[in-house]
Symmetry: C2
Subunit: 614 residues, 2 copies
Amino acid sequence: MSTWEDRKTWLTALSAPVPPEIDTPLRLARFELDHCGKLPGRVTLKADSTLGEGYEIRKTDSGYLLLGGDTGILYGAYQLILRHFSASPLPTGVQRPFYGLRMLDCWDNMSGDIERGYAGRSIWFEADRFQYDPARIRQLGRMLGSVGINVLCLNNVNVHQPAQLLLTDLLPEVSRFAALLRPFGVKLMLSIDFSLPMQDGLDTADPLDARVQAWWTERARGVYAAIPDLAGFLVKADSEHRPGPNTYGRTHAQGANMLARALRPFGGRLVWRAFVYNCMQDWRDQKTDRPRAAYDLYAPLDGQFDKNVILQIKHGPYDFQVREPVSPLLYAMPQTVKALEIQLAQEYTGHQIDLYAMPGLMREIFDQMGKAQVKAVAAVSNLGRDDNWTGHPFAALNLYAYGAFSWDPDSDPGQVVRTWARLTYALPAEQEQALVSLLLSSREIYEKYTAPLGLCWMVSPNQHYGPSPYGYEFQAWGTYNRADRNAVGIDRTEKGTGYVTQYPPQWRALYESPDTCPDNLLLFFHRLPYGHRMRDGRTLIQRIYDDHFEGCAQAEQMAETLNGLIGLPEPDRAEAQSRMQLQLRNAREWRDIINTFFHRFSGAPDQRGRKIYD
Amino acid sequence: MSTWEDRKTWLTALSAPVPPEIDTPLRLARFELDHCGKLPGRVTLKADSTLGEGYEIRKTDSGYLLLGGDTGILYGAYQLILRHFSASPLPTGVQRPFYGLRMLDCWDNMSGDIERGYAGRSIWFEADRFQYDPARIRQLGRMLGSVGINVLCLNNVNVHQPAQLLLTDLLPEVSRFAALLRPFGVKLMLSIDFSLPMQDGLDTADPLDARVQAWWTERARGVYAAIPDLAGFLVKADSEHRPGPNTYGRTHAQGANMLARALRPFGGRLVWRAFVYNCMQDWRDQKTDRPRAAYDLYAPLDGQFDKNVILQIKHGPYDFQVREPVSPLLYAMPQTVKALEIQLAQEYTGHQIDLYAMPGLMREIFDQMGKAQVKAVAAVSNLGRDDNWTGHPFAALNLYAYGAFSWDPDSDPGQVVRTWARLTYALPAEQEQALVSLLLSSREIYEKYTAPLGLCWMVSPNQHYGPSPYGYEFQAWGTYNRADRNAVGIDRTEKGTGYVTQYPPQWRALYESPDTCPDNLLLFFHRLPYGHRMRDGRTLIQRIYDDHFEGCAQAEQMAETLNGLIGLPEPDRAEAQSRMQLQLRNAREWRDIINTFFHRFSGAPDQRGRKIYD
């Protein structure tokens, strides 16, 4: 029987548990270097607090000199170790993270459930209270610290009772938990409920009400007395039935600034999620277009947010669909501090059953967005209490990659995957190459059999695994494909909903016409007849059929490749293989259901005569 | 503030609570007659145990002589009261129920949830234990006894932990509960888990294993020691993932008989649900046809069931859809004791929000089935902890009507509705007539705006309220409409799935051809092109549009009628009106979504130019 202690993910070089008495990053750096197996020479540490999170590794006669700031010295130690054990070159010169805030948002409820969690229950909550193994929290800290993630948001953005108590009665426990992660350079953040003052006797949560302001000021004081280095608060307000400033006719800037001012004396940040849209849309309404919502709401507020407010924006305008264009809001609001939000939890991308490696997604987002558009990054966690931490053992790659890209958004996906694979598994070169290729291709294959051409939301409602092409069609979520016997898609051009006009000119020009719009976003931006001729000469309907057939066939090839990876250790190999069987079943469902759906509508035969069910 | 004590449903004449010390039906009959307000003369009671459940009311010089058996005397008293207060004629001669077993199946979980419950939480379970107000249980008994329901199955057929303990640790509490209902002529029944012996240490639940047989014999002995008049056990086996004899390669006759033999020494009955089908169907499979399942499984077993086994068969072959033909199994198995099962809980018929009066349904079922096909009746309860007992105050009609039809399956729907209305509300004649008409028309209207022409399963998956025309289309439940751009429906004729061949000749002849098949079952039995010409000259697609427009318009008329019922007492009037607003919204969703769905597929315009959304 393996336990979580045996499942080191990319930290196989660090076999000794971190002793509880190690209480600073510097001491931890020393411990890790002394216990990681053989390094090519002695590493001398030199703390230099002016370096902050930065570090420098210098070669010396007898080994290395590592200079680093308070946490930089730890990051340097981990890089030294990970690069050595993955046979990667050491970095030269002072290394600093591109983003100062590298957050992991955990959607853990105090019940122990994790919203959209696919790796088991919460590692720290159960039965409405804290419940954890401190050794496991230290190992978690080590995973995060080793890739430079420096903030962990402890609780779900949908703040269910009794998580409201984290700011009051449970502060001593939050403080103890924070202490466990502190040596790893990881600070806590807390998700808060905007209406909290009303649960404490006030009759309003109006951000312009002096009593409310005073209440939050006092509350922040209490929280920071317990956890002086708390990173701040995260808020989901006026979104999917959560309370917010709209109730009082106040703007989101007013709401956010009120909280930010309570945090400012303590150096805290207020992270405000921009995931706000009308979740009670009438499907008959073709004017309202959900992807427009965030830009329409926030862009006019640019300049109104305080400096310690961070507007956290999902990478696409919808909700972590398999394929979305970069959110136009990320190009906007130059006077606002923005954070990019991605989702490591595979909510719409296979539930950590189907393979979906995200380094390529990260590369594309940073390329298309421009890394300097945001000042911080956040990712929804894919972790859970499963022994292997991430449900599918390969899903740990996505957490690792997030760390790599949030430190250096110019990272190369191939190199990230290779490094992770080499650190995690000691495979013969040919198998390592096969695994790397498998992972690098997995996203495109998943997209092909599920949602090619930018088709969103053909997924089973609520659950979000498996196909349901009309499941969301008449619901209130603003998620429609409007397929009929002639055409499919939403016209989001200037003549349609106008969504495309939210983009800067070069992107707008690209997306505005089906002639220039990338194939993988074609049906995101355009409504097209099934006979539409693609640039490659095929009709739209034939391309839909082809992609689904090809994607499924490629999944079958992935299964064969995986079978050949006999060097994978157990239980990773068995876990990966059993999940691959589920993935194949899922891929066949997607292929057949989507093809049948469009065949029933279009009546068009497959030109290659493959089986489409009636 | 009203409480449940103020909400008497049809028992407005009985204002005094039943005192706890009343412990026999005879004493209760006396109490009720003495406390029901003014009757035209003194009623003398004469017990005659040879009459059993029967009674006779004779006019005397000074009033009435009521003769009756142990429970018959109570039934006679209730009839005397209810008929007097509804100004209905008294029955002449000895009255006996047509069915000896008139069961109410409650799907109450010990958590307090009721599966498919739309009137609040359980009246007797909460937080995994018994929790109830004895006075409320007595009032429940009075409601059931007043209409002759004589068995209450206490717990959900899906037996979730800890309901398994009802047969063991919780027997003393079951016994106390049984005592509360006993004076009302109501006996308890318990839903059991076929695999129960395995939870007690056996390694099998094989019905042919002597240890299993001995275990159940011993268990039955224990149960009957605590509740000597228990009606028996109810079992859902090999159905929707419940355990059953199939696991051991045994037939359902072998499984049922094993349990029945354990009960026989105590006079207990074993009720075996015939709701068994493949709930893991591949949607690609067009040969498997769920409505065939029960007949295919059970008909060959006729003659193999013990005499104290009752095979409980849902009225239609699917699952309480808005419109189904009578299950062919109800016409079959002449050597088997069968029970008819209907569902008062409005799972697919409006969640006790939308009006859906069932007396017409009951009339049709008994007419089409022939009342003598079954020896018992069962209904899934629509009761819950809401003050008004049934969520919608008018939904109590369905419980009342079930009692009436289970006593006399030749009952007249109009008379049943009128009697219920008169007993429940003292309305002026014109308003009473309006209410009666409203209720009598409600079922047809609901059918028209939701599922005309026998179209099943276009309802939101899992929840079963509101339209989702393709929501079940690619799922594993065997519930498909296979709509495409040309046609809709399943061909269940001999050339199709052959389902129609399960019927006796006269029904088979009726259903086999679209020329003779009743319109309201047309798409249940046939797959037809949208241009199919109906007998009234309209095309199928036009008829789909017309029905949905008409049904919704009729719902709007119902709302107006309801508004005019100013004589309805509060809070009934407010409850009915607020639910009607929800019904109207639901009706518009059904109208528009189903019309849009078929318009997108067929491309056919509405010939009357009404609004169909794109």
